[in-house]
């Protein structure tokens, strides 16, 4: 039985952490994810969970302690944002390459500079090649649901990789909305007991984590890690199916919203997908065949599935909430175009950068983009492949 409630995205993730009741949570506060360790600390102080909370002096240490606890055989997680994730950099790679099934609740915030506390995806997108699975949420509900699926994915023997559960800073982390919560006992049953195979505190079976590997071995270790990332796709899908059967909610690799007969499709991640879906409903009433592909899983990247989902449309808008500074669009744009090329599917593609450092993204912006897409596909307008949306002109600034 689910319970109807209302809470912010941060509250929802903290609530899920209480229900999961992991063994260890080291954390260091940073806006806008600070509330997560704060609320978990309250739960612990009130005797509502048994997690060992470790207040540390930096994010480098919070990730190090998470890895250490995980290696010892304890189910471990932490939370952070922005510069906090940047300070974890070295450790993110250590967690993944040592195949630690730990979890990070990320509340997306831009990286400096200019220094700013608001949402974009530059923090997690910068960490896209560190070997972590990355799952994104549209709203508080999805942040909650994704959090509960994180450990079952990470700890699966075919995977053994860390999982990053991402939600948009302030936009969902601090917005109170309706939510359905699962019963504690159902969450505990879904997540299950952690049974590590190899761990440091395993008496009589000594192991080492993180030793030096000479070139004769290192490349094979990396290939094995890459294989685990490939295999994780199947586990992410089966976990999402199991979750949906049990709790009636959620999506697998992505959500396809009115894309079946769509001439124009927008690919987008996070909270802006909700805004895009509302705009698509409005446009459909005017007879415009628009649709939204909301990407849930960015790592592993579902190339074949995305290419397949785009095979019948005329024109695609790929929406990046970060800048790659490569003169060629953001990371999602690069991945989507590579996927289309690989599977020989050639719609027109326009890449948009939007929402940097909390710049708002509205239904009107979505109308504007679909209008441009129809112009491009009719051959009426010739626009640059990489565009900024909602950028102020010199006169407006």
């Amino acid at each position: 039985m689910s319970v109807k409630d209302r809470m912010s995205g941060n509250e929802a993730v903290a609530y899920a952490i209480r229900q999961i009741d992991p063994d260890v949570m080291p954390a260091f506060p940073i806006t806008p994810s600070t509330e997560i360790p704060q609320m978990v600390s309250n739960y612990i102080a009130n005797g509502m969970m048994n997690t060992e909370f470790i207040p540390v002096e930096s994010e480098h240490s919070s990730m190090s302690a998470t890895i250490g606890a995980e290696a010892a055989g304890a189910r471990s997680l932490t939370a952070t944002s922005s510069c906090g994730l940047a300070l974890m950099w070295e450790e993110l790679l250590v967690a993944a390459s040592n195949r630690m099934p730990c979890v990070l609740a990320l509340v997306n915030r831009t990286l400096s500079g200019p220094i700013n506390i608001n949402c974009d995806h530059s923090d997690s997108m910068g960490a896209r090649d560190t070997g972590w699975i990355q799952i994104y949420a549209e709203n508080n509900q999805e942040a909650y649901d994704n959090m509960i699926q994180a450990f079952p994915i990470a700890e699966d023997k075919r995977v053994h990789l860390p999982v990053m559960i991402c939600q948009d800073g302030f936009i969902t982390s601090h917005a109170v909305q309706n939510i359905e919560l699962n019963e504690d006992s159902e969450v505990k049953e879904f997540v299950g007991e952690y049974e590590p195979e190899e761990f440091l505190l395993n008496k009589g079976n000594p192991v080492a984590f993180g030793p030096y590997a000479v070139s004769n071995y290192s490349m094979e270790a990396k290939k094995a890690q890459e294989k685990a990332m490939e295999d994780s796709k199947e586990v992410i899908i089966s976990t999402a199916r199991k979750y949906k059967e049990r709790f009636g909610r959620g999506f697998e690799l992505f959500e396809e919203y009115r894309t079946n007969d769509a001439d124009y499709i927008m690919i987008i991640m996070g909270s802006a997908a909700g805004t895009a879906k509302q705009a698509v409903d409005d446009l459909r009433k005017k007879g415009i065949k628009a649709g939204v592909l909301k990407l849930r899983v960015f790592r592993p990247f579902p190339s074949e599935e995305i290419a397949n989902a785009l095979k019948n449309c005329k024109c695609v808008a790929v929406m990046d909430r970060t800048e790659s500074y490569n003169g060629n669009g953001g990371p999602l744009s690069s991945e989507v175009r590579a996927a289309l090329f690989e599977y020989k599917i050639y719609p027109e593609v326009v890449c948009y950068t939007y929402g940097l450092s909390g710049r708002d993204f509205t239904v009107e912006n979505v109308y504007e983009i679909f209008d441009e897409l129809s112009g491009v596909s009719e051959g009426n307008i010739d626009i640059k492949q990489h565009r900024y949306i909602n950028l102020r002109t010199k006169e407006e600034a």
């Binding site: 506390i117 302030f170 969902t172 601090h174 917005a175 109170v176 309706n178 802006a272 509302q278 708002d360």
Partner: protein, 196 residues
Amino acid sequence: MDKGIEIRWHGRGGQGAKTAALLLADVCFKTGAYVQGFPEYGPERMGAPITAFNRISPEDIRVHSNIYYPDLVVVVDDTLLNSVDVTAGLKEDGAIIINTVRPRDEIIPLLKGYKGKVYTIDARDISVKALGKYFPNTPMLSAVVAVTGLMDWSLFIREMRSSYEHKFSKKPEVIEGNMNALELTYEALKEQLNEN
């Protein structure tokens, strides 16, 4: 509720506009509505202008942008009228509620020709009478419900009592003060509600 309503709050950091928006979301949730309540964050300083938003709807809310064409604007501090364009995008068939000691006739000329309904309320007077201190958010929340009719008044009062009893379980002395502030606001607005 037949259709949704979008509300924009203007206040100053520390006055509780964000809290009021979250309380409104809370009480509307209890009537079975879909709700959204969120602040816009900038550099946080006491006294700096801040904005908060509410969407209340009979249907699931998917839009995550700020609100540019509100049905209702709530101004928690009338000094903002000099520096912030509070009626920007406000619907002509909508309304604005302003916390001020000044009479409504003095406020209307400051609203750049806004043609919709204008309500004024002296939240300081009410708050000091009811609570002994200046907390404008309780009177402003009450004014929103009184003006919009978002929910039945007696249901609102009942839900607020239960919410204060929960929130102030360790400070029961402030429950009655807050309840009084809600009622005093309604009384103070009665004349304007009839006129409008």
